[in-house]
Amino acid sequence: MITRDEFTTIAGNGVWKQNTSIVQILGLCPLLATTTNAVNGIMLSLATIIVMAMSGVAVAALRNFIPHEIRIPVFILIVAALVTVVDLLFNANLHELYLVLGIFIPLIVTNCIVLARVEAFAAKNPPLQSTFDGIFMGVGMLWTLGLLGAMRELLGNGTIFGGIDMVFPSLQPVQLLPESYPGFLLALLPPGAFILLGCMIAWKNWLDARAAQRAQRRPPTAVAATG
């Protein structure tokens, strides 16, 4: 089973401390390609969450049978097989969603985040912890890619949630900037993703540095002062 502490650590690592996109800087290829709007980024992350949770369980359950020397090929085999199965199941049963997520699912095989977490976490931890690790790493990716996508489309097109009508036909993208906004192509092209990702990394580091400074300034006897 999983303790509360373990769960908090895993969640904190996934969402903030070890965030795949702005700390580990992994999986940049899908990040650049899909975050032209928030919806695409979020959808790719959702598909990745499913695959990461599944591969986490599978590898953690089989971890004692996998010899150390051939762990990488076996991990790749497991991840690739699971991605293909997810791809087929989506195509067969959730066709509408597949039309939206479809192009992203095979991309997940090449996403080094999955292999990295399987190697760094699932190979050494029990299945339940590995599942949560996969899910929370994916959640970390979800908010980063969603935010990056939202910034890119806002700067590039002046809209937000473009393409939402392809997931939920009843919803429409929101035009945040005036219709006359000329657009800013750089934000939509891959270099724009790099620049904005750089800004996000700087922002995170600044927040962390500020938090560290505050923790230092505040003397450890603060508890006594309040009491």
Binding site: P67, L99, L188
Partner: protein, 222 residues
């Protein structure tokens, strides 16, 4: 690995590792083929459904009564359509009489490579509809040729072609207004609509020239 407790000879180790890897490969290949077999019928059904949805965009279902997906003709690579691979032409009939041809064409000179089109041409020579099925045009700039990305939802750019025919519009009219034709475009993104207009004209000219042959030929009628 350093300092293993058990002493295993190198070849023995290699064989053991290979055997384990083999077992994993067999197990996961089995899983894959099971999933493939299990999902195959559903996937095929939805692929056909999807094709019909594309056709519905260019040709209303009320205009024909045959099983369109089964009344096909396999076309060899046709340069006039911009296709360098074989493609499929669908024939729509109403009470056995041909009403329209539905076929693919490619505009090879889009801003970012090929723009694939699906064209439906009625028997009287008018276009029932044109749709972009695949493109890599710049998001937010040239991609308005795809009605899903067009900001003008009530009258997307691509619908301008609907109703046009060689008989009513002179060849010079099948161009964007900047080039002296009838086709509107958004300022700043002329390359894509220009390429699409050119490809549509060429495709319609080809279909008109070959109409009788395309309808009569029983090449791949299933």
């Amino acid at each position: 690995m350093t300092g293993g407790a058990r002493k295993i000879s190198a070849p023995g180790m290699a064989i053991r590792t290979a055997a384990i890897l083999f077992v994993f490969v067999i197990a996961f290949t089995g899983l894959l083929s099971a999933a493939y077999q299990w999902t195959k019928p559903a996937i095929e059904a939805s692929a056909a459904e999807e094709k019909m949805k594309l056709v519905d965009d260019v040709l209303p279902r009320a205009e024909y009564d045959n099983a369109l997906l089964n009344d096909t003709l396999t076309l060899p690579p046709t340069p006039q359509l911009g296709l360098d691979e074989p493609s499929t032409l669908y024939r729509a009939r109403m009470g056995g009489k041909p009403v329209a041809l539905v076929f693919e064409a490619v505009a090879p000179d889009g801003y970012a490579g090929k723009v694939r089109l699906l064209i439906a041409l009625r028997a009287d020579g008018t276009l029932a509809g044109v749709r972009v099925t695949q493109h890599k045009e710049t998001p937010g700039l040239g991609d308005y040729v795809d009605p899903k990305k067009d900001k003008n939802k009530s009258r997307p750019w691509i619908t301008q072609f609907t109703g046009m025919s060689l008989a009513t519009v002179a060849n010079s009219g099948w161009k964007v207004k900047k080039d002296g034709g009838n086709i509107d475009y958004y300022a700043g993104a002329t390359v894509t609509p220009r390429a699409v207009s050119k490809a549509v004209l060429k495709a319609v000219q080809w279909a008109e020239a070959n109409r009788t042959r395309l309808i009569a030929e029983t090449g791949a009628t299933k």
